[in-house]
Symmetry: C2
DNA sequence: GGCCAAACGGACGATTGCGTCCACTTAGGA
DNA sequence: TCCTAAGTGGACGCAATCGTCCGTTTGGCC
């Protein structure tokens, strides 16, 4: 679903338009990572070195920009699911899947918010691919449960629980990979049927009090329409 | 730290001022629950039936309003910690503490965001009480570990991991108690040294796709200053 | 009851972000 | 090289929110 430059070459856009489009996408990723996905469109445009009008011509709404900016990451998620299904050991696949998606959320700042925001996107195309993803994931869960590795009462919707919780964590503590890894480890451990205590990744160095970024900066709740 | 009406009676405020103050606090809780803590101040004022100026006179900044609006909830958290320390079984205390705080976050919409936002508040007074809370919690953890119920590699900073993750979850899925309960159950289970599989609370009825509220409405990342 | 400081409320100027309009530029085929 | 349609950029009008200023009201002491 990502337009590689090869595909883009066939999209009928003029060379400069294509160039600008890519610039805007790159700028959007950078700005969204830094200021959250509600950063002013003008900031993205400035960062890309183009005018606002150019930005709006390519991406009529903020959501369109966000979606396209993180299309690659979304694709990686989809691919991870496919690979998980293909894995010989379903539990391995399950574990890999969750770790991959969480790593993505952790590393690509701004992606978590985009991920959550994109959820209810009920575009015909997106709805379809999501439905397929849900079906595939359910299959994976069944297999992993049948193999005895995944606890029987794990419910496919628990994936949302994991991802949204993890999203929230990395949104609040951006850059704290340790915390994210710990959460994932704790959860994966809970999901195993035979819950032997496996060693955890090291805890974050941050104490409870030192959340330097969370407060004055990016994310907090947001009021849409008063 | 909460001004009960008794204490308020001695605060030298005129009767109408005191009344308005309480009205504003109540309105703030309601509005913040409904629209997030970034809801326009004017909305809070209107809901309270007072003018903006009155609101600003009592609470010069939005943060002051948020802090005071959720002071009661914060207190409950502190009390929960005290009770946890007093519990005969340290594991019980630990479990209770986490469940209480998460229940609070789950039930009082808007509180989670306030909770996170309040974290780095380095007010002299608040810093002190937080330090004390951290010390107490560490004590609780040590005791629970000594009793053999809490896994040895649990680190006090994991509390932040739990609370922030849970925050994120309930912020995205407000009103979904099931998801919140599941997360808490999964995590608590991971924290036990002897990880027997205990039954989980029922999963949420929501499938991955149906996040009716998350998208167009309240919370997503937010850009502060471009 | 009367007085006055405390409290009130809404209008207002400032700031910020959005998205469009239009005059100018340029890519690339003829 | 020239021509034209596609592309560009920034100025502009609109809307929302902020926080203050100031004329009016009212609680509560004398």
């Amino acid at each position: 679903m990502v337009e590689s430059s090869r595909i883009a070459a066939q999209d009928g856009l003029r060379a400069d338009a294509r160039r600008n489009r890519e610039r805007v996408l790159a700028a959007a990723r950078a700005v969204f990572a830094e200021h959250g996905i509600d950063a002013p469109m003008a900031t993205v445009a400035r960062r890309a070195g183009v005018g606002v009008a150019t930005l709006y011509r390519h991406f009529p709404t903020r959501d369109a920009l966000v979606r396209d900016a993180f299309a690659q990451q979304m694709d990686t998620c989809v691919r991870a699911l496919t690979e998980a299904l293909a894995a010989p050991d379903p539990w391995q696949g399950f574990q890999q899947l969750i770790e991959t998606v969480c790593a993505l959320q952790r590393e690509e700042r701004g992606f978590p918010a985009a991920f959550v925001a994109a959820f209810p996107e009920s575009t015909s195309e997106h709805a379809q691919s999501r439905q397929r993803a849900e079906r595939d994931f359910t299959t994976l869960v069944r297999r992993a449960q049948a193999s005895g590795a995944l606890r029987a009462d794990f419910h496919p919707s628990d994936l949302a629980v994991v991802l949204l919780a993890h999203c929230g964590l990395v949104a609040t503590l951006p850059g704290d990979g340790a915390a994210s890894r710990r959460l994932v480890a704790y959860l994966l451990q809970s999901f195993r049927a035979d819950t032997a205590n496996e060693p955890l990744p090291p805890p974050t160095a941050l104490a409870l009090r030192s959340l330097p970024i969370a407060a004055d900066s990016p994310q907090r709740q947001r009021a849409p329409r008063a």
